[in-house]
Symmetry: C2
């Protein structure tokens, strides 16, 4: 029996062998010319993956939550108005971080699994002068995906900065940072970027940097302050040594490898692959009667599915699926936590992982006493792949 299980949670995900091999290479000095070259390359590649030719990339040791604070702390000054689009647990967290850094936060509310309507957001954007609009691209807690393109367009009309928490999205969901006028797009390494956890990643637009440069008050968090990181990122890209904090050398080298793999696939091909995997996966779940936390199909994410346990099945399902070789995640949104589970399908995962996951879910459901047409999930997914 294999000890190793397939990791299909919304991060950390499965990583490629090349990325994992990079992790265990003897650590170079952070000022070694070879590492400076690799860090410089990684920053350049971030710009290409984010589709932000004029963006300023940052890669800092930390989790996705640090990336959220790296965004909010640097563009917020006390008294600024910030509008947060409510999507779930992570939009609430973003609101908390903006508030801590002095913002007056307004939230456009929505029910669990839903998004506020674009009209409500547009109306609120016009009702007050906002420094920034904050959108969680895919809320990891609900699997709800926001329409970043149109929300960004609405915000730009009002002059507000557009901050996208792309933790469960960047390099999986379509994001055209510069075309869409997004000012900050952030993520964490262990999601669709395909690198073990420990790197907070962010790209800032020229407009975001201008807002930072125009600050009248100091940034409140030392480790988050762009004034320290900006010269370091610029130096590495110019292939010059610089120091603020020791970069996580092994993770940065792994990032460089993963970004190269992403660019070899091609960012558009990657978006399409994620969309196809998501379609196939949900065709499978739907075929055996499961339903989703997002309330409408247009809200379904390509990186993550949040599905309700069917009638008569509880969270014990997850350990049965784990016994079948696939690790999935439980609920996270406090109001429905015990009623649903989450499956990540991002990064390198493809038809093989999707079918393996659906197979394990079928076997787990069968062991849980749920009645369904055995094989229907894998067959339905396979039908989606055949069509293409």
């Amino acid at each position: 029996m294999k000890e190793r299980r397939l990791l299909m949670i919304p991060g950390p995900i499965e990583f490629t062998d090349e990325v994992l091999d990079e992790m265990s290479k003897p650590t170079l000095s952070h000022l070694d010319p070879a590492f400076i070259e690799e860090f410089g390359q990684a920053l350049e590649k971030m710009r290409r993956v984010w589709l932000a030719p004029h963006g300023q990339p940052f890669a800092v040791a930390g989790s996705g939550t640090l990336a959220m604070e790296l965004a909010a702390a640097n563009i917020t000054e006390p008294g600024d108005n910030v509008l947060v689009v409510h999507t779930g647990y992570f939009s609430d967290r973003m609101a908390d971080i903006f508030r801590l850094h002095g913002a007056n936060v307004d939230i456009v509310p929505s029910a669990v699994g839903d998004l506020p309507g674009p009209e409500a957001i547009r109306a609120q954007l016009k009702a007050k002068k906002y420094k920034a609009l904050s959108v969680t691209h895919v809320d990891t807690s609900t699997g709800v995906r926001a329409d970043v393109k149109n929300l960004a367009a609405a915000a730009r009309e009002t002059g507000a900065l557009v901050v996208v928490d792309g933790v469960c999205a960047v390099a999986g969901e379509e994001l055209r940072m510069e075309d869409w006028g997004v000012d900050i797009a952030l993520t964490a390494s262990q999601k669709a970027i395909g690198v073990p956890p420990g790197l907070a990643l962010l790209v800032a637009s020229e407009k975001a940097l201008a807002a930072f440069n125009a600050r009248k008050t100091p940034v409140r968090a030392y480790y988050c302050d762009w004034q320290y990181w900006l010269p370091v990122m610029q130096a590495y890209e110019a292939r010059k040594p610089a120091y603020f904090g020791t970069p996580p050398v092994n993770l940065v080298r792994a990032l460089n490898v993963s970004l190269a793999q992403i660019l070899i696939e091609g960012i558009d091909a990657r978006f399409m692959r994620h969309a196809r995997n998501a379609r196939a996966f949900r065709a499978g779940l739907s075929a055996i009667g499961l339903t989703y936390v997002p309330v409408r199909e247009e809200l379904y994410a390509n990186t993550l599915t949040a599905a309700y346990y069917p009638e008569g099945v509880d969270a014990g399902l997850l350990s049965r699926i784990a016994e079948e070789g696939v690790v999935l995640a439980g609920g996270l949104h406090p109001s429905i936590k015990t009623k649903y589970f989450r499956i990540g399908h991002m990064g390198m995962s493809d038809a093989s992982e999707i079918l393996a996951t659906l197979g394990a879910i079928e076997r787990g459901l069968a062991k849980s006493g749920y009645a369904f047409d055995a094989g229907a999930a894998v067959a339905a997914a396979q039908a989606v792949y055949k069509k293409l």
Copy 2:
């Protein structure tokens, strides 16, 4: 010719094969029972390595600078008085972080390579009511080591919390956190702890947690706030799942392996080995006429040596030494940056690495035109090892 060079800088250091192998293991879910067990073990081992049986360990994705802010941000409230012992670049940074979090910072000054006298520190501690005394155990910029034991005793008499920046010290220099009455001792993974960079590590005393719990104002930095991390650390130690930010799974597993290796050696044996290596290394450098940034022998650190380039030799020496197979670090303290270099001798390094390093330094100096008795450095170091 070997491509691989020996990394003898003050972090990242050389890591053991077992630690590096752990880095590339397929990433587990942060909620996988196997990972919960390993994280829990790592936290328990931190308490043993810090010699703090009642301490509360924290391990968070980030650099040593984050560890510094994880200390300062949680115990400082606006208007608190904090006294900083001046040691160099890193005590200045600690002062900046305390200030950002609202402290009125007083600094007991010293010249480069020196420490303020204990009488001056004692007098200042009595002159005002201080919330905390901050001491950099070994300042990575100068190789100056502070007498933490006696400074902590002086601070305790006044009721001040004792914060030790142990980034270049913990698990290398003698630190008996609980016996000495230290309230926070922090470090980064890539130093004497022996894990690739990316983990900020800290142990807080019961008194430090009490000060945190008695806060009347919120912590100003979200990612640093113990209110979020404390329940997570407590849960992992209780072998229960918890979430705030995704832990850097591969680094935490590597930490668990490295801490096990440290405890197998024994913490006292490890302190003595570091002291012996430092003695042997400096016997070598002294035998060929080099002098040190710390102005007195009692200030010499066991983890790091900061030595002046000899007359007629400049920073070009470092690339010549690198060509000979050993990577060393340049100066960091702004006022003497181009005049000295730094050698880390911590973690797994022993007689073999010390001799290899001294040999490369000799050959580099010879290529730089410096006149000395060839072989004198390695012979002097070897004599120290022979005596033991």
